[in-house]
Symmetry: D2
């Protein structure tokens, strides 16, 4: 099954991925990871939750850490262009027979929750409280100097289905991995905001959240983070990298938070705003697909992910396997 | 006059700035500058013209150098989303009483030329020949490793008028400089593609092209270019920088090509896709506006620019002056 | 007068420059500059003095800030190879009729003070208290991430005389500036430790301390410092740069501390351990001598310096002038 | 057996490691690796050999590639301070009963060959032809921008013995790895020139040459090399890294030349000129010893090395094993 032609006229206008809420079991430990180590900025906190933003973001939060008994991922948040889009989106999901629930989200205007066909919880809204810019308050920069949330990556039990659905929502494929044998998609990167992706799909037991990525200024900031983590008790939380992705051409590092939620640090992909941009195809068996420099990803990277709260994942239909580090 | 509210629903959809044609008096010398020194890639050339693209671009050209008797700038090119936008754009300019002329542009689909109200020549098209990606052919990277065209900056004899017009076209203001005394705009940065700008306007004798900017990976590439230019006969073509802009927070360098056309090398601005992004206001008298580190720009930077072919510029009405280096 | 042949067999073995004491008028303000902004580490402090080291140094201090009524520079400290060298050095200075005074310096073994022929106060010692390494405690890195003291630069009223004297001490010239007209030295860079210099001499009213330099990892750390200083109230303390030196090929920035003492941030010069390394000659009128990229230094850089405590400087005999920024 | 006290008064003065000759089986292929990919500069070549220098070196060669039927390493070259040192060195080796042979080496003054007690071929000389500086000819910089040869690393069948011998020659230990169980040295880093090492010893079947290292400006140059090698047919020649060493704190990458000779690209270690610098001890079982970030080295890195021409290596007595990647 080939990649579908991009839907250039979706029923509503999704601007970009916006935020995610993660349930964590020890707020203090998570704060040490996200705030003291990564360098995200606290915009609100109490005994139940911590709201964070990255350095160039003006919206109130890109990640919410909420205390819970079990680690899990909650809604993936997306920002819509306007209220008309919000209403159109509601209608769209209802028409698909997917659940729509209007919810109260602090610091966000009118927000509804829904699910994608595999059960991934999504939330849509138009406006979030805007905070004063801090990107030129250089004394606040710490850790990896995170600039903005960049993308989600989710395990999908059927990447062809996921791509078809998100394509309908206007997400355009920039790069994809095909299983040569079956001709099926093994992974795909899809965007709204003009980078390589807002959300990517990886074949595997799903739906589960594979990772959330933050954009940083340069590869040297990633090296700084590695040096810091290695000497402050976080060395075992380094999972994969640093390296250059074949796909996206970005420079990357994967780390795990205290509950195992995976975070990618990412920079240097390319501009994709052209509606006639051709997707780039990769073969699942190409060792440079994952890492341009040839290093394979470890087994944990292919198998572990965060459960979405209350969602039971299913094994993927496609059994094709990528190259895994010994 | 305050910055106008953004027009979120323009009559047609401009994707991004796309390309510019510069008339140069010595093609070989210009080739030495743009190809051998900056590192742009030749996609076509003959005795009359050289077509160039940057490393991550898939469109055929972002800059065209054309041999001429006198140096000048020709059309500023913009890419539209679809054919419907092209027709709507044509209607829009005709309605304004502005000239519309369908032209033949190699490697571009149906293209029309027009003028903005101050006389700047613009061209609009939807599709350009797509070339195979070269962003992972690292042996081709040279010079400053230019990744893509980033923006135009033009002298405007009336920045308030320019902003009002481009606002109608859907360009959204991200940052601006106000003359405190008159309350008038002295400069403004406006975007379509989600960066700080596709086109900026600077108060001055205009219209003239102030500069064309290219995006590069990191500030270190700019340092590499300075080292290279300084030791290959181009030291006098370094005009201003390197530095961090107050406005845009980008890292920059301004250089002049063999005919005096100004090129900016630029990186590290921020994402602006949110329709509710608040513009940032700067005071003309703020010394950190131009360069966050306090260095003033030289007189040439404020006074010199490329004439648009066949367009006679007019002095600006607003006489307010920025800080100029002694 | 040409550069003297290097003295490869000096009477005693100076390992490297080691430290300097600066008198400052407001310890708290100086602490904000050196500790909070530059990122030097406090190794001792009380109400009268602050001892600092850089990140890879194991010796107790490279700079001592001492409270005083008037800003001044005190002894330039050098580390000797062994006690035999210390005794030989004492004899050497006494033989020259220069004053030798054994002094008590906290954290240093047996130390004597003397003067060079122009009156610069020098101190020599063999051992300083060694502290545990902190270069892999990455959480301590701040500001410009200073790694080690790199060199002193002093105004000399007669550079030929200075070079002749320090040559006798075993300092080897790596680069020098000649006044073409008189054939006299206008400036010279001389080393012991295998970099471009431990101490350099600049023609001017002297002796005065022109600057003390710290080595940092990469040019990006200098950009980070500029961004930090620009947004924390230190923008007026930025004097010159950033840039690439013609001489030394190093990347540099000059800043001024709260009392006007000049600090250079410096990286990327080259290895000079070969005894047969040929000095590189520069013409005083070469604009790329100061800054490879062509920018001239400001007048303050040529005229201002720190007085050595109790030493009255004299005008330089050589009146030749370098290029000065307008 | 503890690390011996440094010999601060060796019988002769070794300035630094200088060069090595490698026998290669295909000169053209090796040229593609060392010149076109790494960016070393050819200073002489004919059908039998290629002489190379790095960008800041003024000596004629740091590596000589010589055509041969079998790949092997030949003499490790060291530069001495003066002719008196050369004579003293000759006497020293003769006194030890080690073979001394005066040889003719193009571009070098009087040179003798000898062996260390394990059979490593060494050569000593005082002067090499000096070439004009090219470090500011930035158009010549290519590949990884190699600045200078930095160190050798050799497999030793008895590291305690190697350290004892080289200590007598004046090499000072900066860091070392001890096998906790036996108290024996498993590896040691020893220097003459003021960096972490001129030569290091690794426990293993030896003597064999483990690698030759080149110093580059910043970690970003190493990333550039990885991108280049990955996309020009050299991806399989990437062996280990990039990473930060625990030992030395340097940033590194290990690659293999077309014959399997191992080259390290290296930067960012620290200054070690102080005679009282304390060596840093590491435990063989510390996973951060090899790579601060925790990644283990692959088996090939521990087992493979270049044979010295005509020397049969012996198994190491010490059987202790480091952590090896699965
Ligand atoms: Ca609250
Ligand atoms: Fe990702
Ligand atoms: Fe610009
Ligand atoms: Fe200096
Ligand atoms: Fe090494």
């Amino acid at each position: 099954m080939p990649v579908p032609a991009p839907n250039l006229y979706p029923a509503f206008n999704i601007v970009r991925l916006s935020h995610v809420e993660l349930t964590v079991t020890d707020l203090a430990k998570s704060r040490a990871f996200y705030v003291d180590t990564l360098g995200l900025q606290v915009t609100d906190e109490d005994s139940e939750a911590i709201y964070l933003r990255a350095m160039e973001e003006r919206g109130h939060h890109c990640i919410v850490l909420r205390k819970g008994d079990t680690a899990s991922a909650r809604d993936l948040g997306f920002k819509l262009y306007d209220e008309a889009s919000l209403d159109a989106a509601e209608a769209f999901f209802r028409d698909k027979g997917l659940p729509v629930e209007w919810v109260d989200r602090p610091y966000q205007s009118r927000t509804f929750r829904t699910r994608d066909p595999h059960g991934i919880p999504l939330e849509f809204y138009v406006r979030m409280d805007r905070l004063p810019p801090i990107h030129q308050q250089y004394k606040l920069y710490r850790g990896v100097k995170p600039l903005r949330i960049d993308h989600f990556n989710v395990f999908s039990p059927d990447v062809d289905e996921s791509v078809a659905f998100y394509n309908e929502l206007g997400f355009r494929v920039t790069e994809y991995t095909e299983d040569e044998e079956t001709g099926r998609l093994w992974a795909a990167w899809t965007h709204r905001k003009g980078g390589v992706h807002d959300i990517a799909f990886t074949n595997g037991t799903g739906p589960r959240l594979h990772h959330t990525a933050f954009w940083v200024p340069t590869p040297l900031n990633i090296i700084d983070l590695l040096d810091l983590m290695s000497t402050t008790g976080w060395v075992d939380n380094i999972e994969r990298g640093p390296g250059r992705h074949g796909i996206s051409n970005a420079f990357f590092l994967y780390i795990r938070d205290p509950d195992g939620h995976r975070i990618e640090i990412y920079c240097s992909d390319y501009q994709t705003v052209d509606p006639d941009l051709e997707p780039i195809k990769w073969d699942l068996k190409d060792p440079q697909r994952q890492t341009l420099w040839g290093a394979a990803a470890p087994r944990s990277w292919f198998e572990e992910g965060s459960l979405f709260d209350g969602v039971t994942p299913h094994e993927a239909a496609l059994k094709a396997q990528p190259i895994i580090a010994p």
